[in-house]
Symmetry: C2
Subunit: 191 residues, 2 copies
């Protein structure tokens, strides 16, 4: 079985311990609401408002656990709507990326960089990678078949790690562009 | 040269003469703001608000001239945001499509159907169709090459008419999913 699930990542924020305290107050911790497909990752009860020069986005989820740098992942539609110039980047690659304000109930974080549009990618274990015949960082084509908007997405980065679970992640623009359904599957194709 | 320009259609509305009067008052006519690529089609100065069960979209453009039926074309992101269930359809195929309110300065149109997400398509003259070796209504794959989000879109309908100008139309979700630039080109590929 060479397929994998295609999951849609809605806009979300990763925060550092320090920014968590700024946003939610001294002693604040992230409250697990729902586990995500990647082991150890979870959606939190805590939500923030992302403010750009043109508009704001309220009720944006935080994903835990905390990280070494604060990062805001938006769709390009979102970024454009709020007036932030967000490059397409892999998670963690935030140097020179977009700026915004993050507002929580106890304070404001002025983010000088950290707003990105996530580069589409597949999380794979080493066993999955071997089965699919791909390597870490390899860029592949993925066919996503749907009733009305089948597409083959290029520029998909394979990310291989023993702690990953097999799943492709696309953002809401990409999800809507292929009209991805629940339990949407994809497969690597050679062109 | 087998390529064609790929244009992004932002959310917009087509109106009937009757609905134009309801929205903008007795004697109202559409005011041409900018010609579009398709001959005779133009963006208008007149704007309306689209109201769904969850939210509204203000300042939505009307495209002229008036048409036999009123139609609201949203991205799936838009439709979801305002809470309207809009199917993916070709322009004009509005039977059983989404409902919304359209609000203008002089009145409100209760649209029981007419909200769609446009099916991606290519406008071609008969000469273009011959050159590209496609027929009217044929469904093709189109490769769109960009720096970060190259994709091959399936389910693209060819529409052939002497009054058309050669251009592919995608919506804002699709445009963001491929990171389409200005003067973005596409080409039909056989898979």
């Amino acid at each position: 079985m060479s397929k994998f699930i295609v999951e849609t990542s809605a806009r979300h924020v990763h925060v550092t311990e320090a920014d968590l305290i700024t946003l939610f107050g001294e002693g604040a911790t992230l409250t697990r609401k729902k586990d995500l497909s990647q082991p150890g990752q979870f959606a939190c009860e805590e939500r923030v408002t992302i403010i750009g020069p043109k508009k704001e986005l309220a009720g944006v989820s935080i994903l835990g656990p905390t990280r070494p740098s604060t990062q805001v992942e938006l769709s390009a539609s979102d970024a454009r709507a709020i007036g932030v110039n967000a490059p397409i980047r892999e998670s963690g690659d935030v140097s020179g990326s977009g700026a915004c304000q993050i507002v929580g109930p106890c304070g404001v974080v002025e983010l000088s960089e950290g707003v990105i549009v996530a580069k589409r990618h597949i999380h794979l274990t080493p066993e999955d990678a071997e089965e699919l015949n791909v390597k870490d960082k390899e860029v592949v084509w993925v066919k996503i078949e749907t009733a009305d908007r089948t597409a083959i997405l290029g520029d998909v980065v394979c990310r291989v790690h023993p702690n990953f679970a097999r799943a492709m992640h696309i953002d809401t623009d990409e999800s809507n562009a292929v009209s991805a359904g629940r339990d949407q599957m994809g497969e690597i194709v050679k062109l």
